[in-house]
């Protein structure tokens, strides 16, 4: 917690879409560094300049998104359940009124909470929001809110009514976009991270799979020609 935001730029994976608070902190810190001692400027010169440009772009995107959401709120469209509002493609049946705003949330099961937190924060650039040891932690990174729960412990790790205990693993996973997946995988491999599947080409992406210490998969991908990016807000 409260680490120097500049540290994020030294991680193997720089979150593409961090929280606005983080972007603002990073921008502040970079500005401090640029106007700071000549020694520090000398140390990080070009990197800082590039990062400054990126951070400003990110902040502009965040502001645009916030403005769009403010508009939606003002229009009343988000007042109640999204699905109770007229939608461009109205779902049939009895849709669940899920209201997904802000950071999408994913829950991963991990046997060793501390090891998982260290992995996601040190290797993948997540930030620790809260830790309720030994059973639960909440991290933010790559646009996600990532909940870590420990199987068999109170909370989401508790056994089902039939006694089944949740477990780590499986094929489903979060995916994180990185600018250069080959370089990222090389760095992670050097850091001792287990590579589950090396870089391969898919349709419009190059991708690879790494494992967290509990064996959960994380997919890293780099967009290539023809990559589809959502063009408008939902």
């Amino acid at each position: 917690m409260a680490a120097d935001p500049l540290d994020a730029l030294r991680l193997s994976v720089v979150p593409v879409d961090p929280r606005p608070e983080f972007t603002a902190a990073l921008l502040r810190r970079i500005n401090e560094a640029v106007t700071g001692t000549s020694e520090e400027v000398g140390n990080i010169g070009l990197v800082i300049q590039r990062a400054l440009d990126n951070a400003e772009q990110m902040q502009a995107q965040m502001q645009a998104r916030a403005a769009a959401i403010d508009e939606l709120i003002a229009s009343g469209a988000l007042e109640r359940h999204v699905s109770s509002q007229p939608a461009p493609q109205p779902p049939q049946g009895a849709p669940i009124a899920a209201r997904v705003r802000g950071n999408p949330t994913v829950r991963y099961f991990v046997g060793d909470l501390d090891a998982a937190i260290e992995f996601y924060c040190q290797r993948l650039g997540f930030e620790e929001e809260l830790r309720s040891a030994p059973a639960f932690a909440m991290l933010y990174g790559g646009g996600f809110r990532l909940l870590l729960s420990v199987p068999g412990l109170p909370g989401a790790g508790r056994p089902l009514p039939d006694g089944t205990v949740p477990a780590a693993g499986g094929s489903n996973r979060i995916t994180l976009q990185v600018p250069d997946v080959t370089a990222t995988i090389a760095e992670l491999r050097a850091a001792g991270v287990r590579i589950h599947a090396d870089v391969s080409a898919g349709v419009a992406v190059r991708q690879a799979l790494v494992e967290d210490p509990a064996g959960n998969l994380v997919e890293l991908y780099e967009p290539t020609a023809g990559y589809h990016e959502r063009s408008s807000a939902p």
Binding site: R65, I73, V100, G102, F144, G169, S171, H228
Partner: protein, 137 residues
């Protein structure tokens, strides 16, 4: 620009699209191949893929280097926030959706787990504390 994606392995992409669209309010972005679809809901992009053989152009669901097939299931899941969980559960039960458990009151939220047609879990939660609520924007 949304870069937040989750990939779920499913046996039947069409059945999965119908489930996520009709039961959970997702929108279909594209379905260019029988083994691939991309849906969206709020800031979440959900990539649905069916296992494909080695050599298939789709790279996300080929067998692993050791030959292991990718498959649906497990416990890791994405979560959707709802405003009235008991009401949501009632609607989904009426619609014949499979539940893994009953509503559980946790520390920050009450929650329940449902399954898509391939058996992948989805967690629905209703915040009980401010910290558990997804911040607007």
């Amino acid at each position: 620009m949304s870069t937040v994606s989750v990939r779920y392995i499913v046996d039947d992409v069409d059945a999965a699209i119908a489930f996520y669209r009709d039961r959970l309010g997702f929108r279909e972005l594209m379905h260019p191949d029988p083994a691939f679809a991309m849906l969206t809901h709020g800031d979440l992009r959900l990539v649905l893929v069916a296992p494909v053989p080695e050599g298939h152009p789709g790279g996300g669901s080929r067998p692993m280097p050791d030959g292991t097939a990718q498959r649906p299931g497990g416990w890791n899941r994405f979560m959707l926030q709802v405003e009235d969980l008991p009401a949501a559960v009632g609607e989904l039960r009426t619609a014949g959706v499979t539940f893994r458990n009953e509503i559980v009151d946790g520390i920050g939220a009450r929650q329940v787990m449902i399954e898509d047609p391939s058996g992948n879990p989805v967690e629905l939660f209703e915040p009980l504390r401010a910290e558990a609520r997804l911040a607007p924007g």
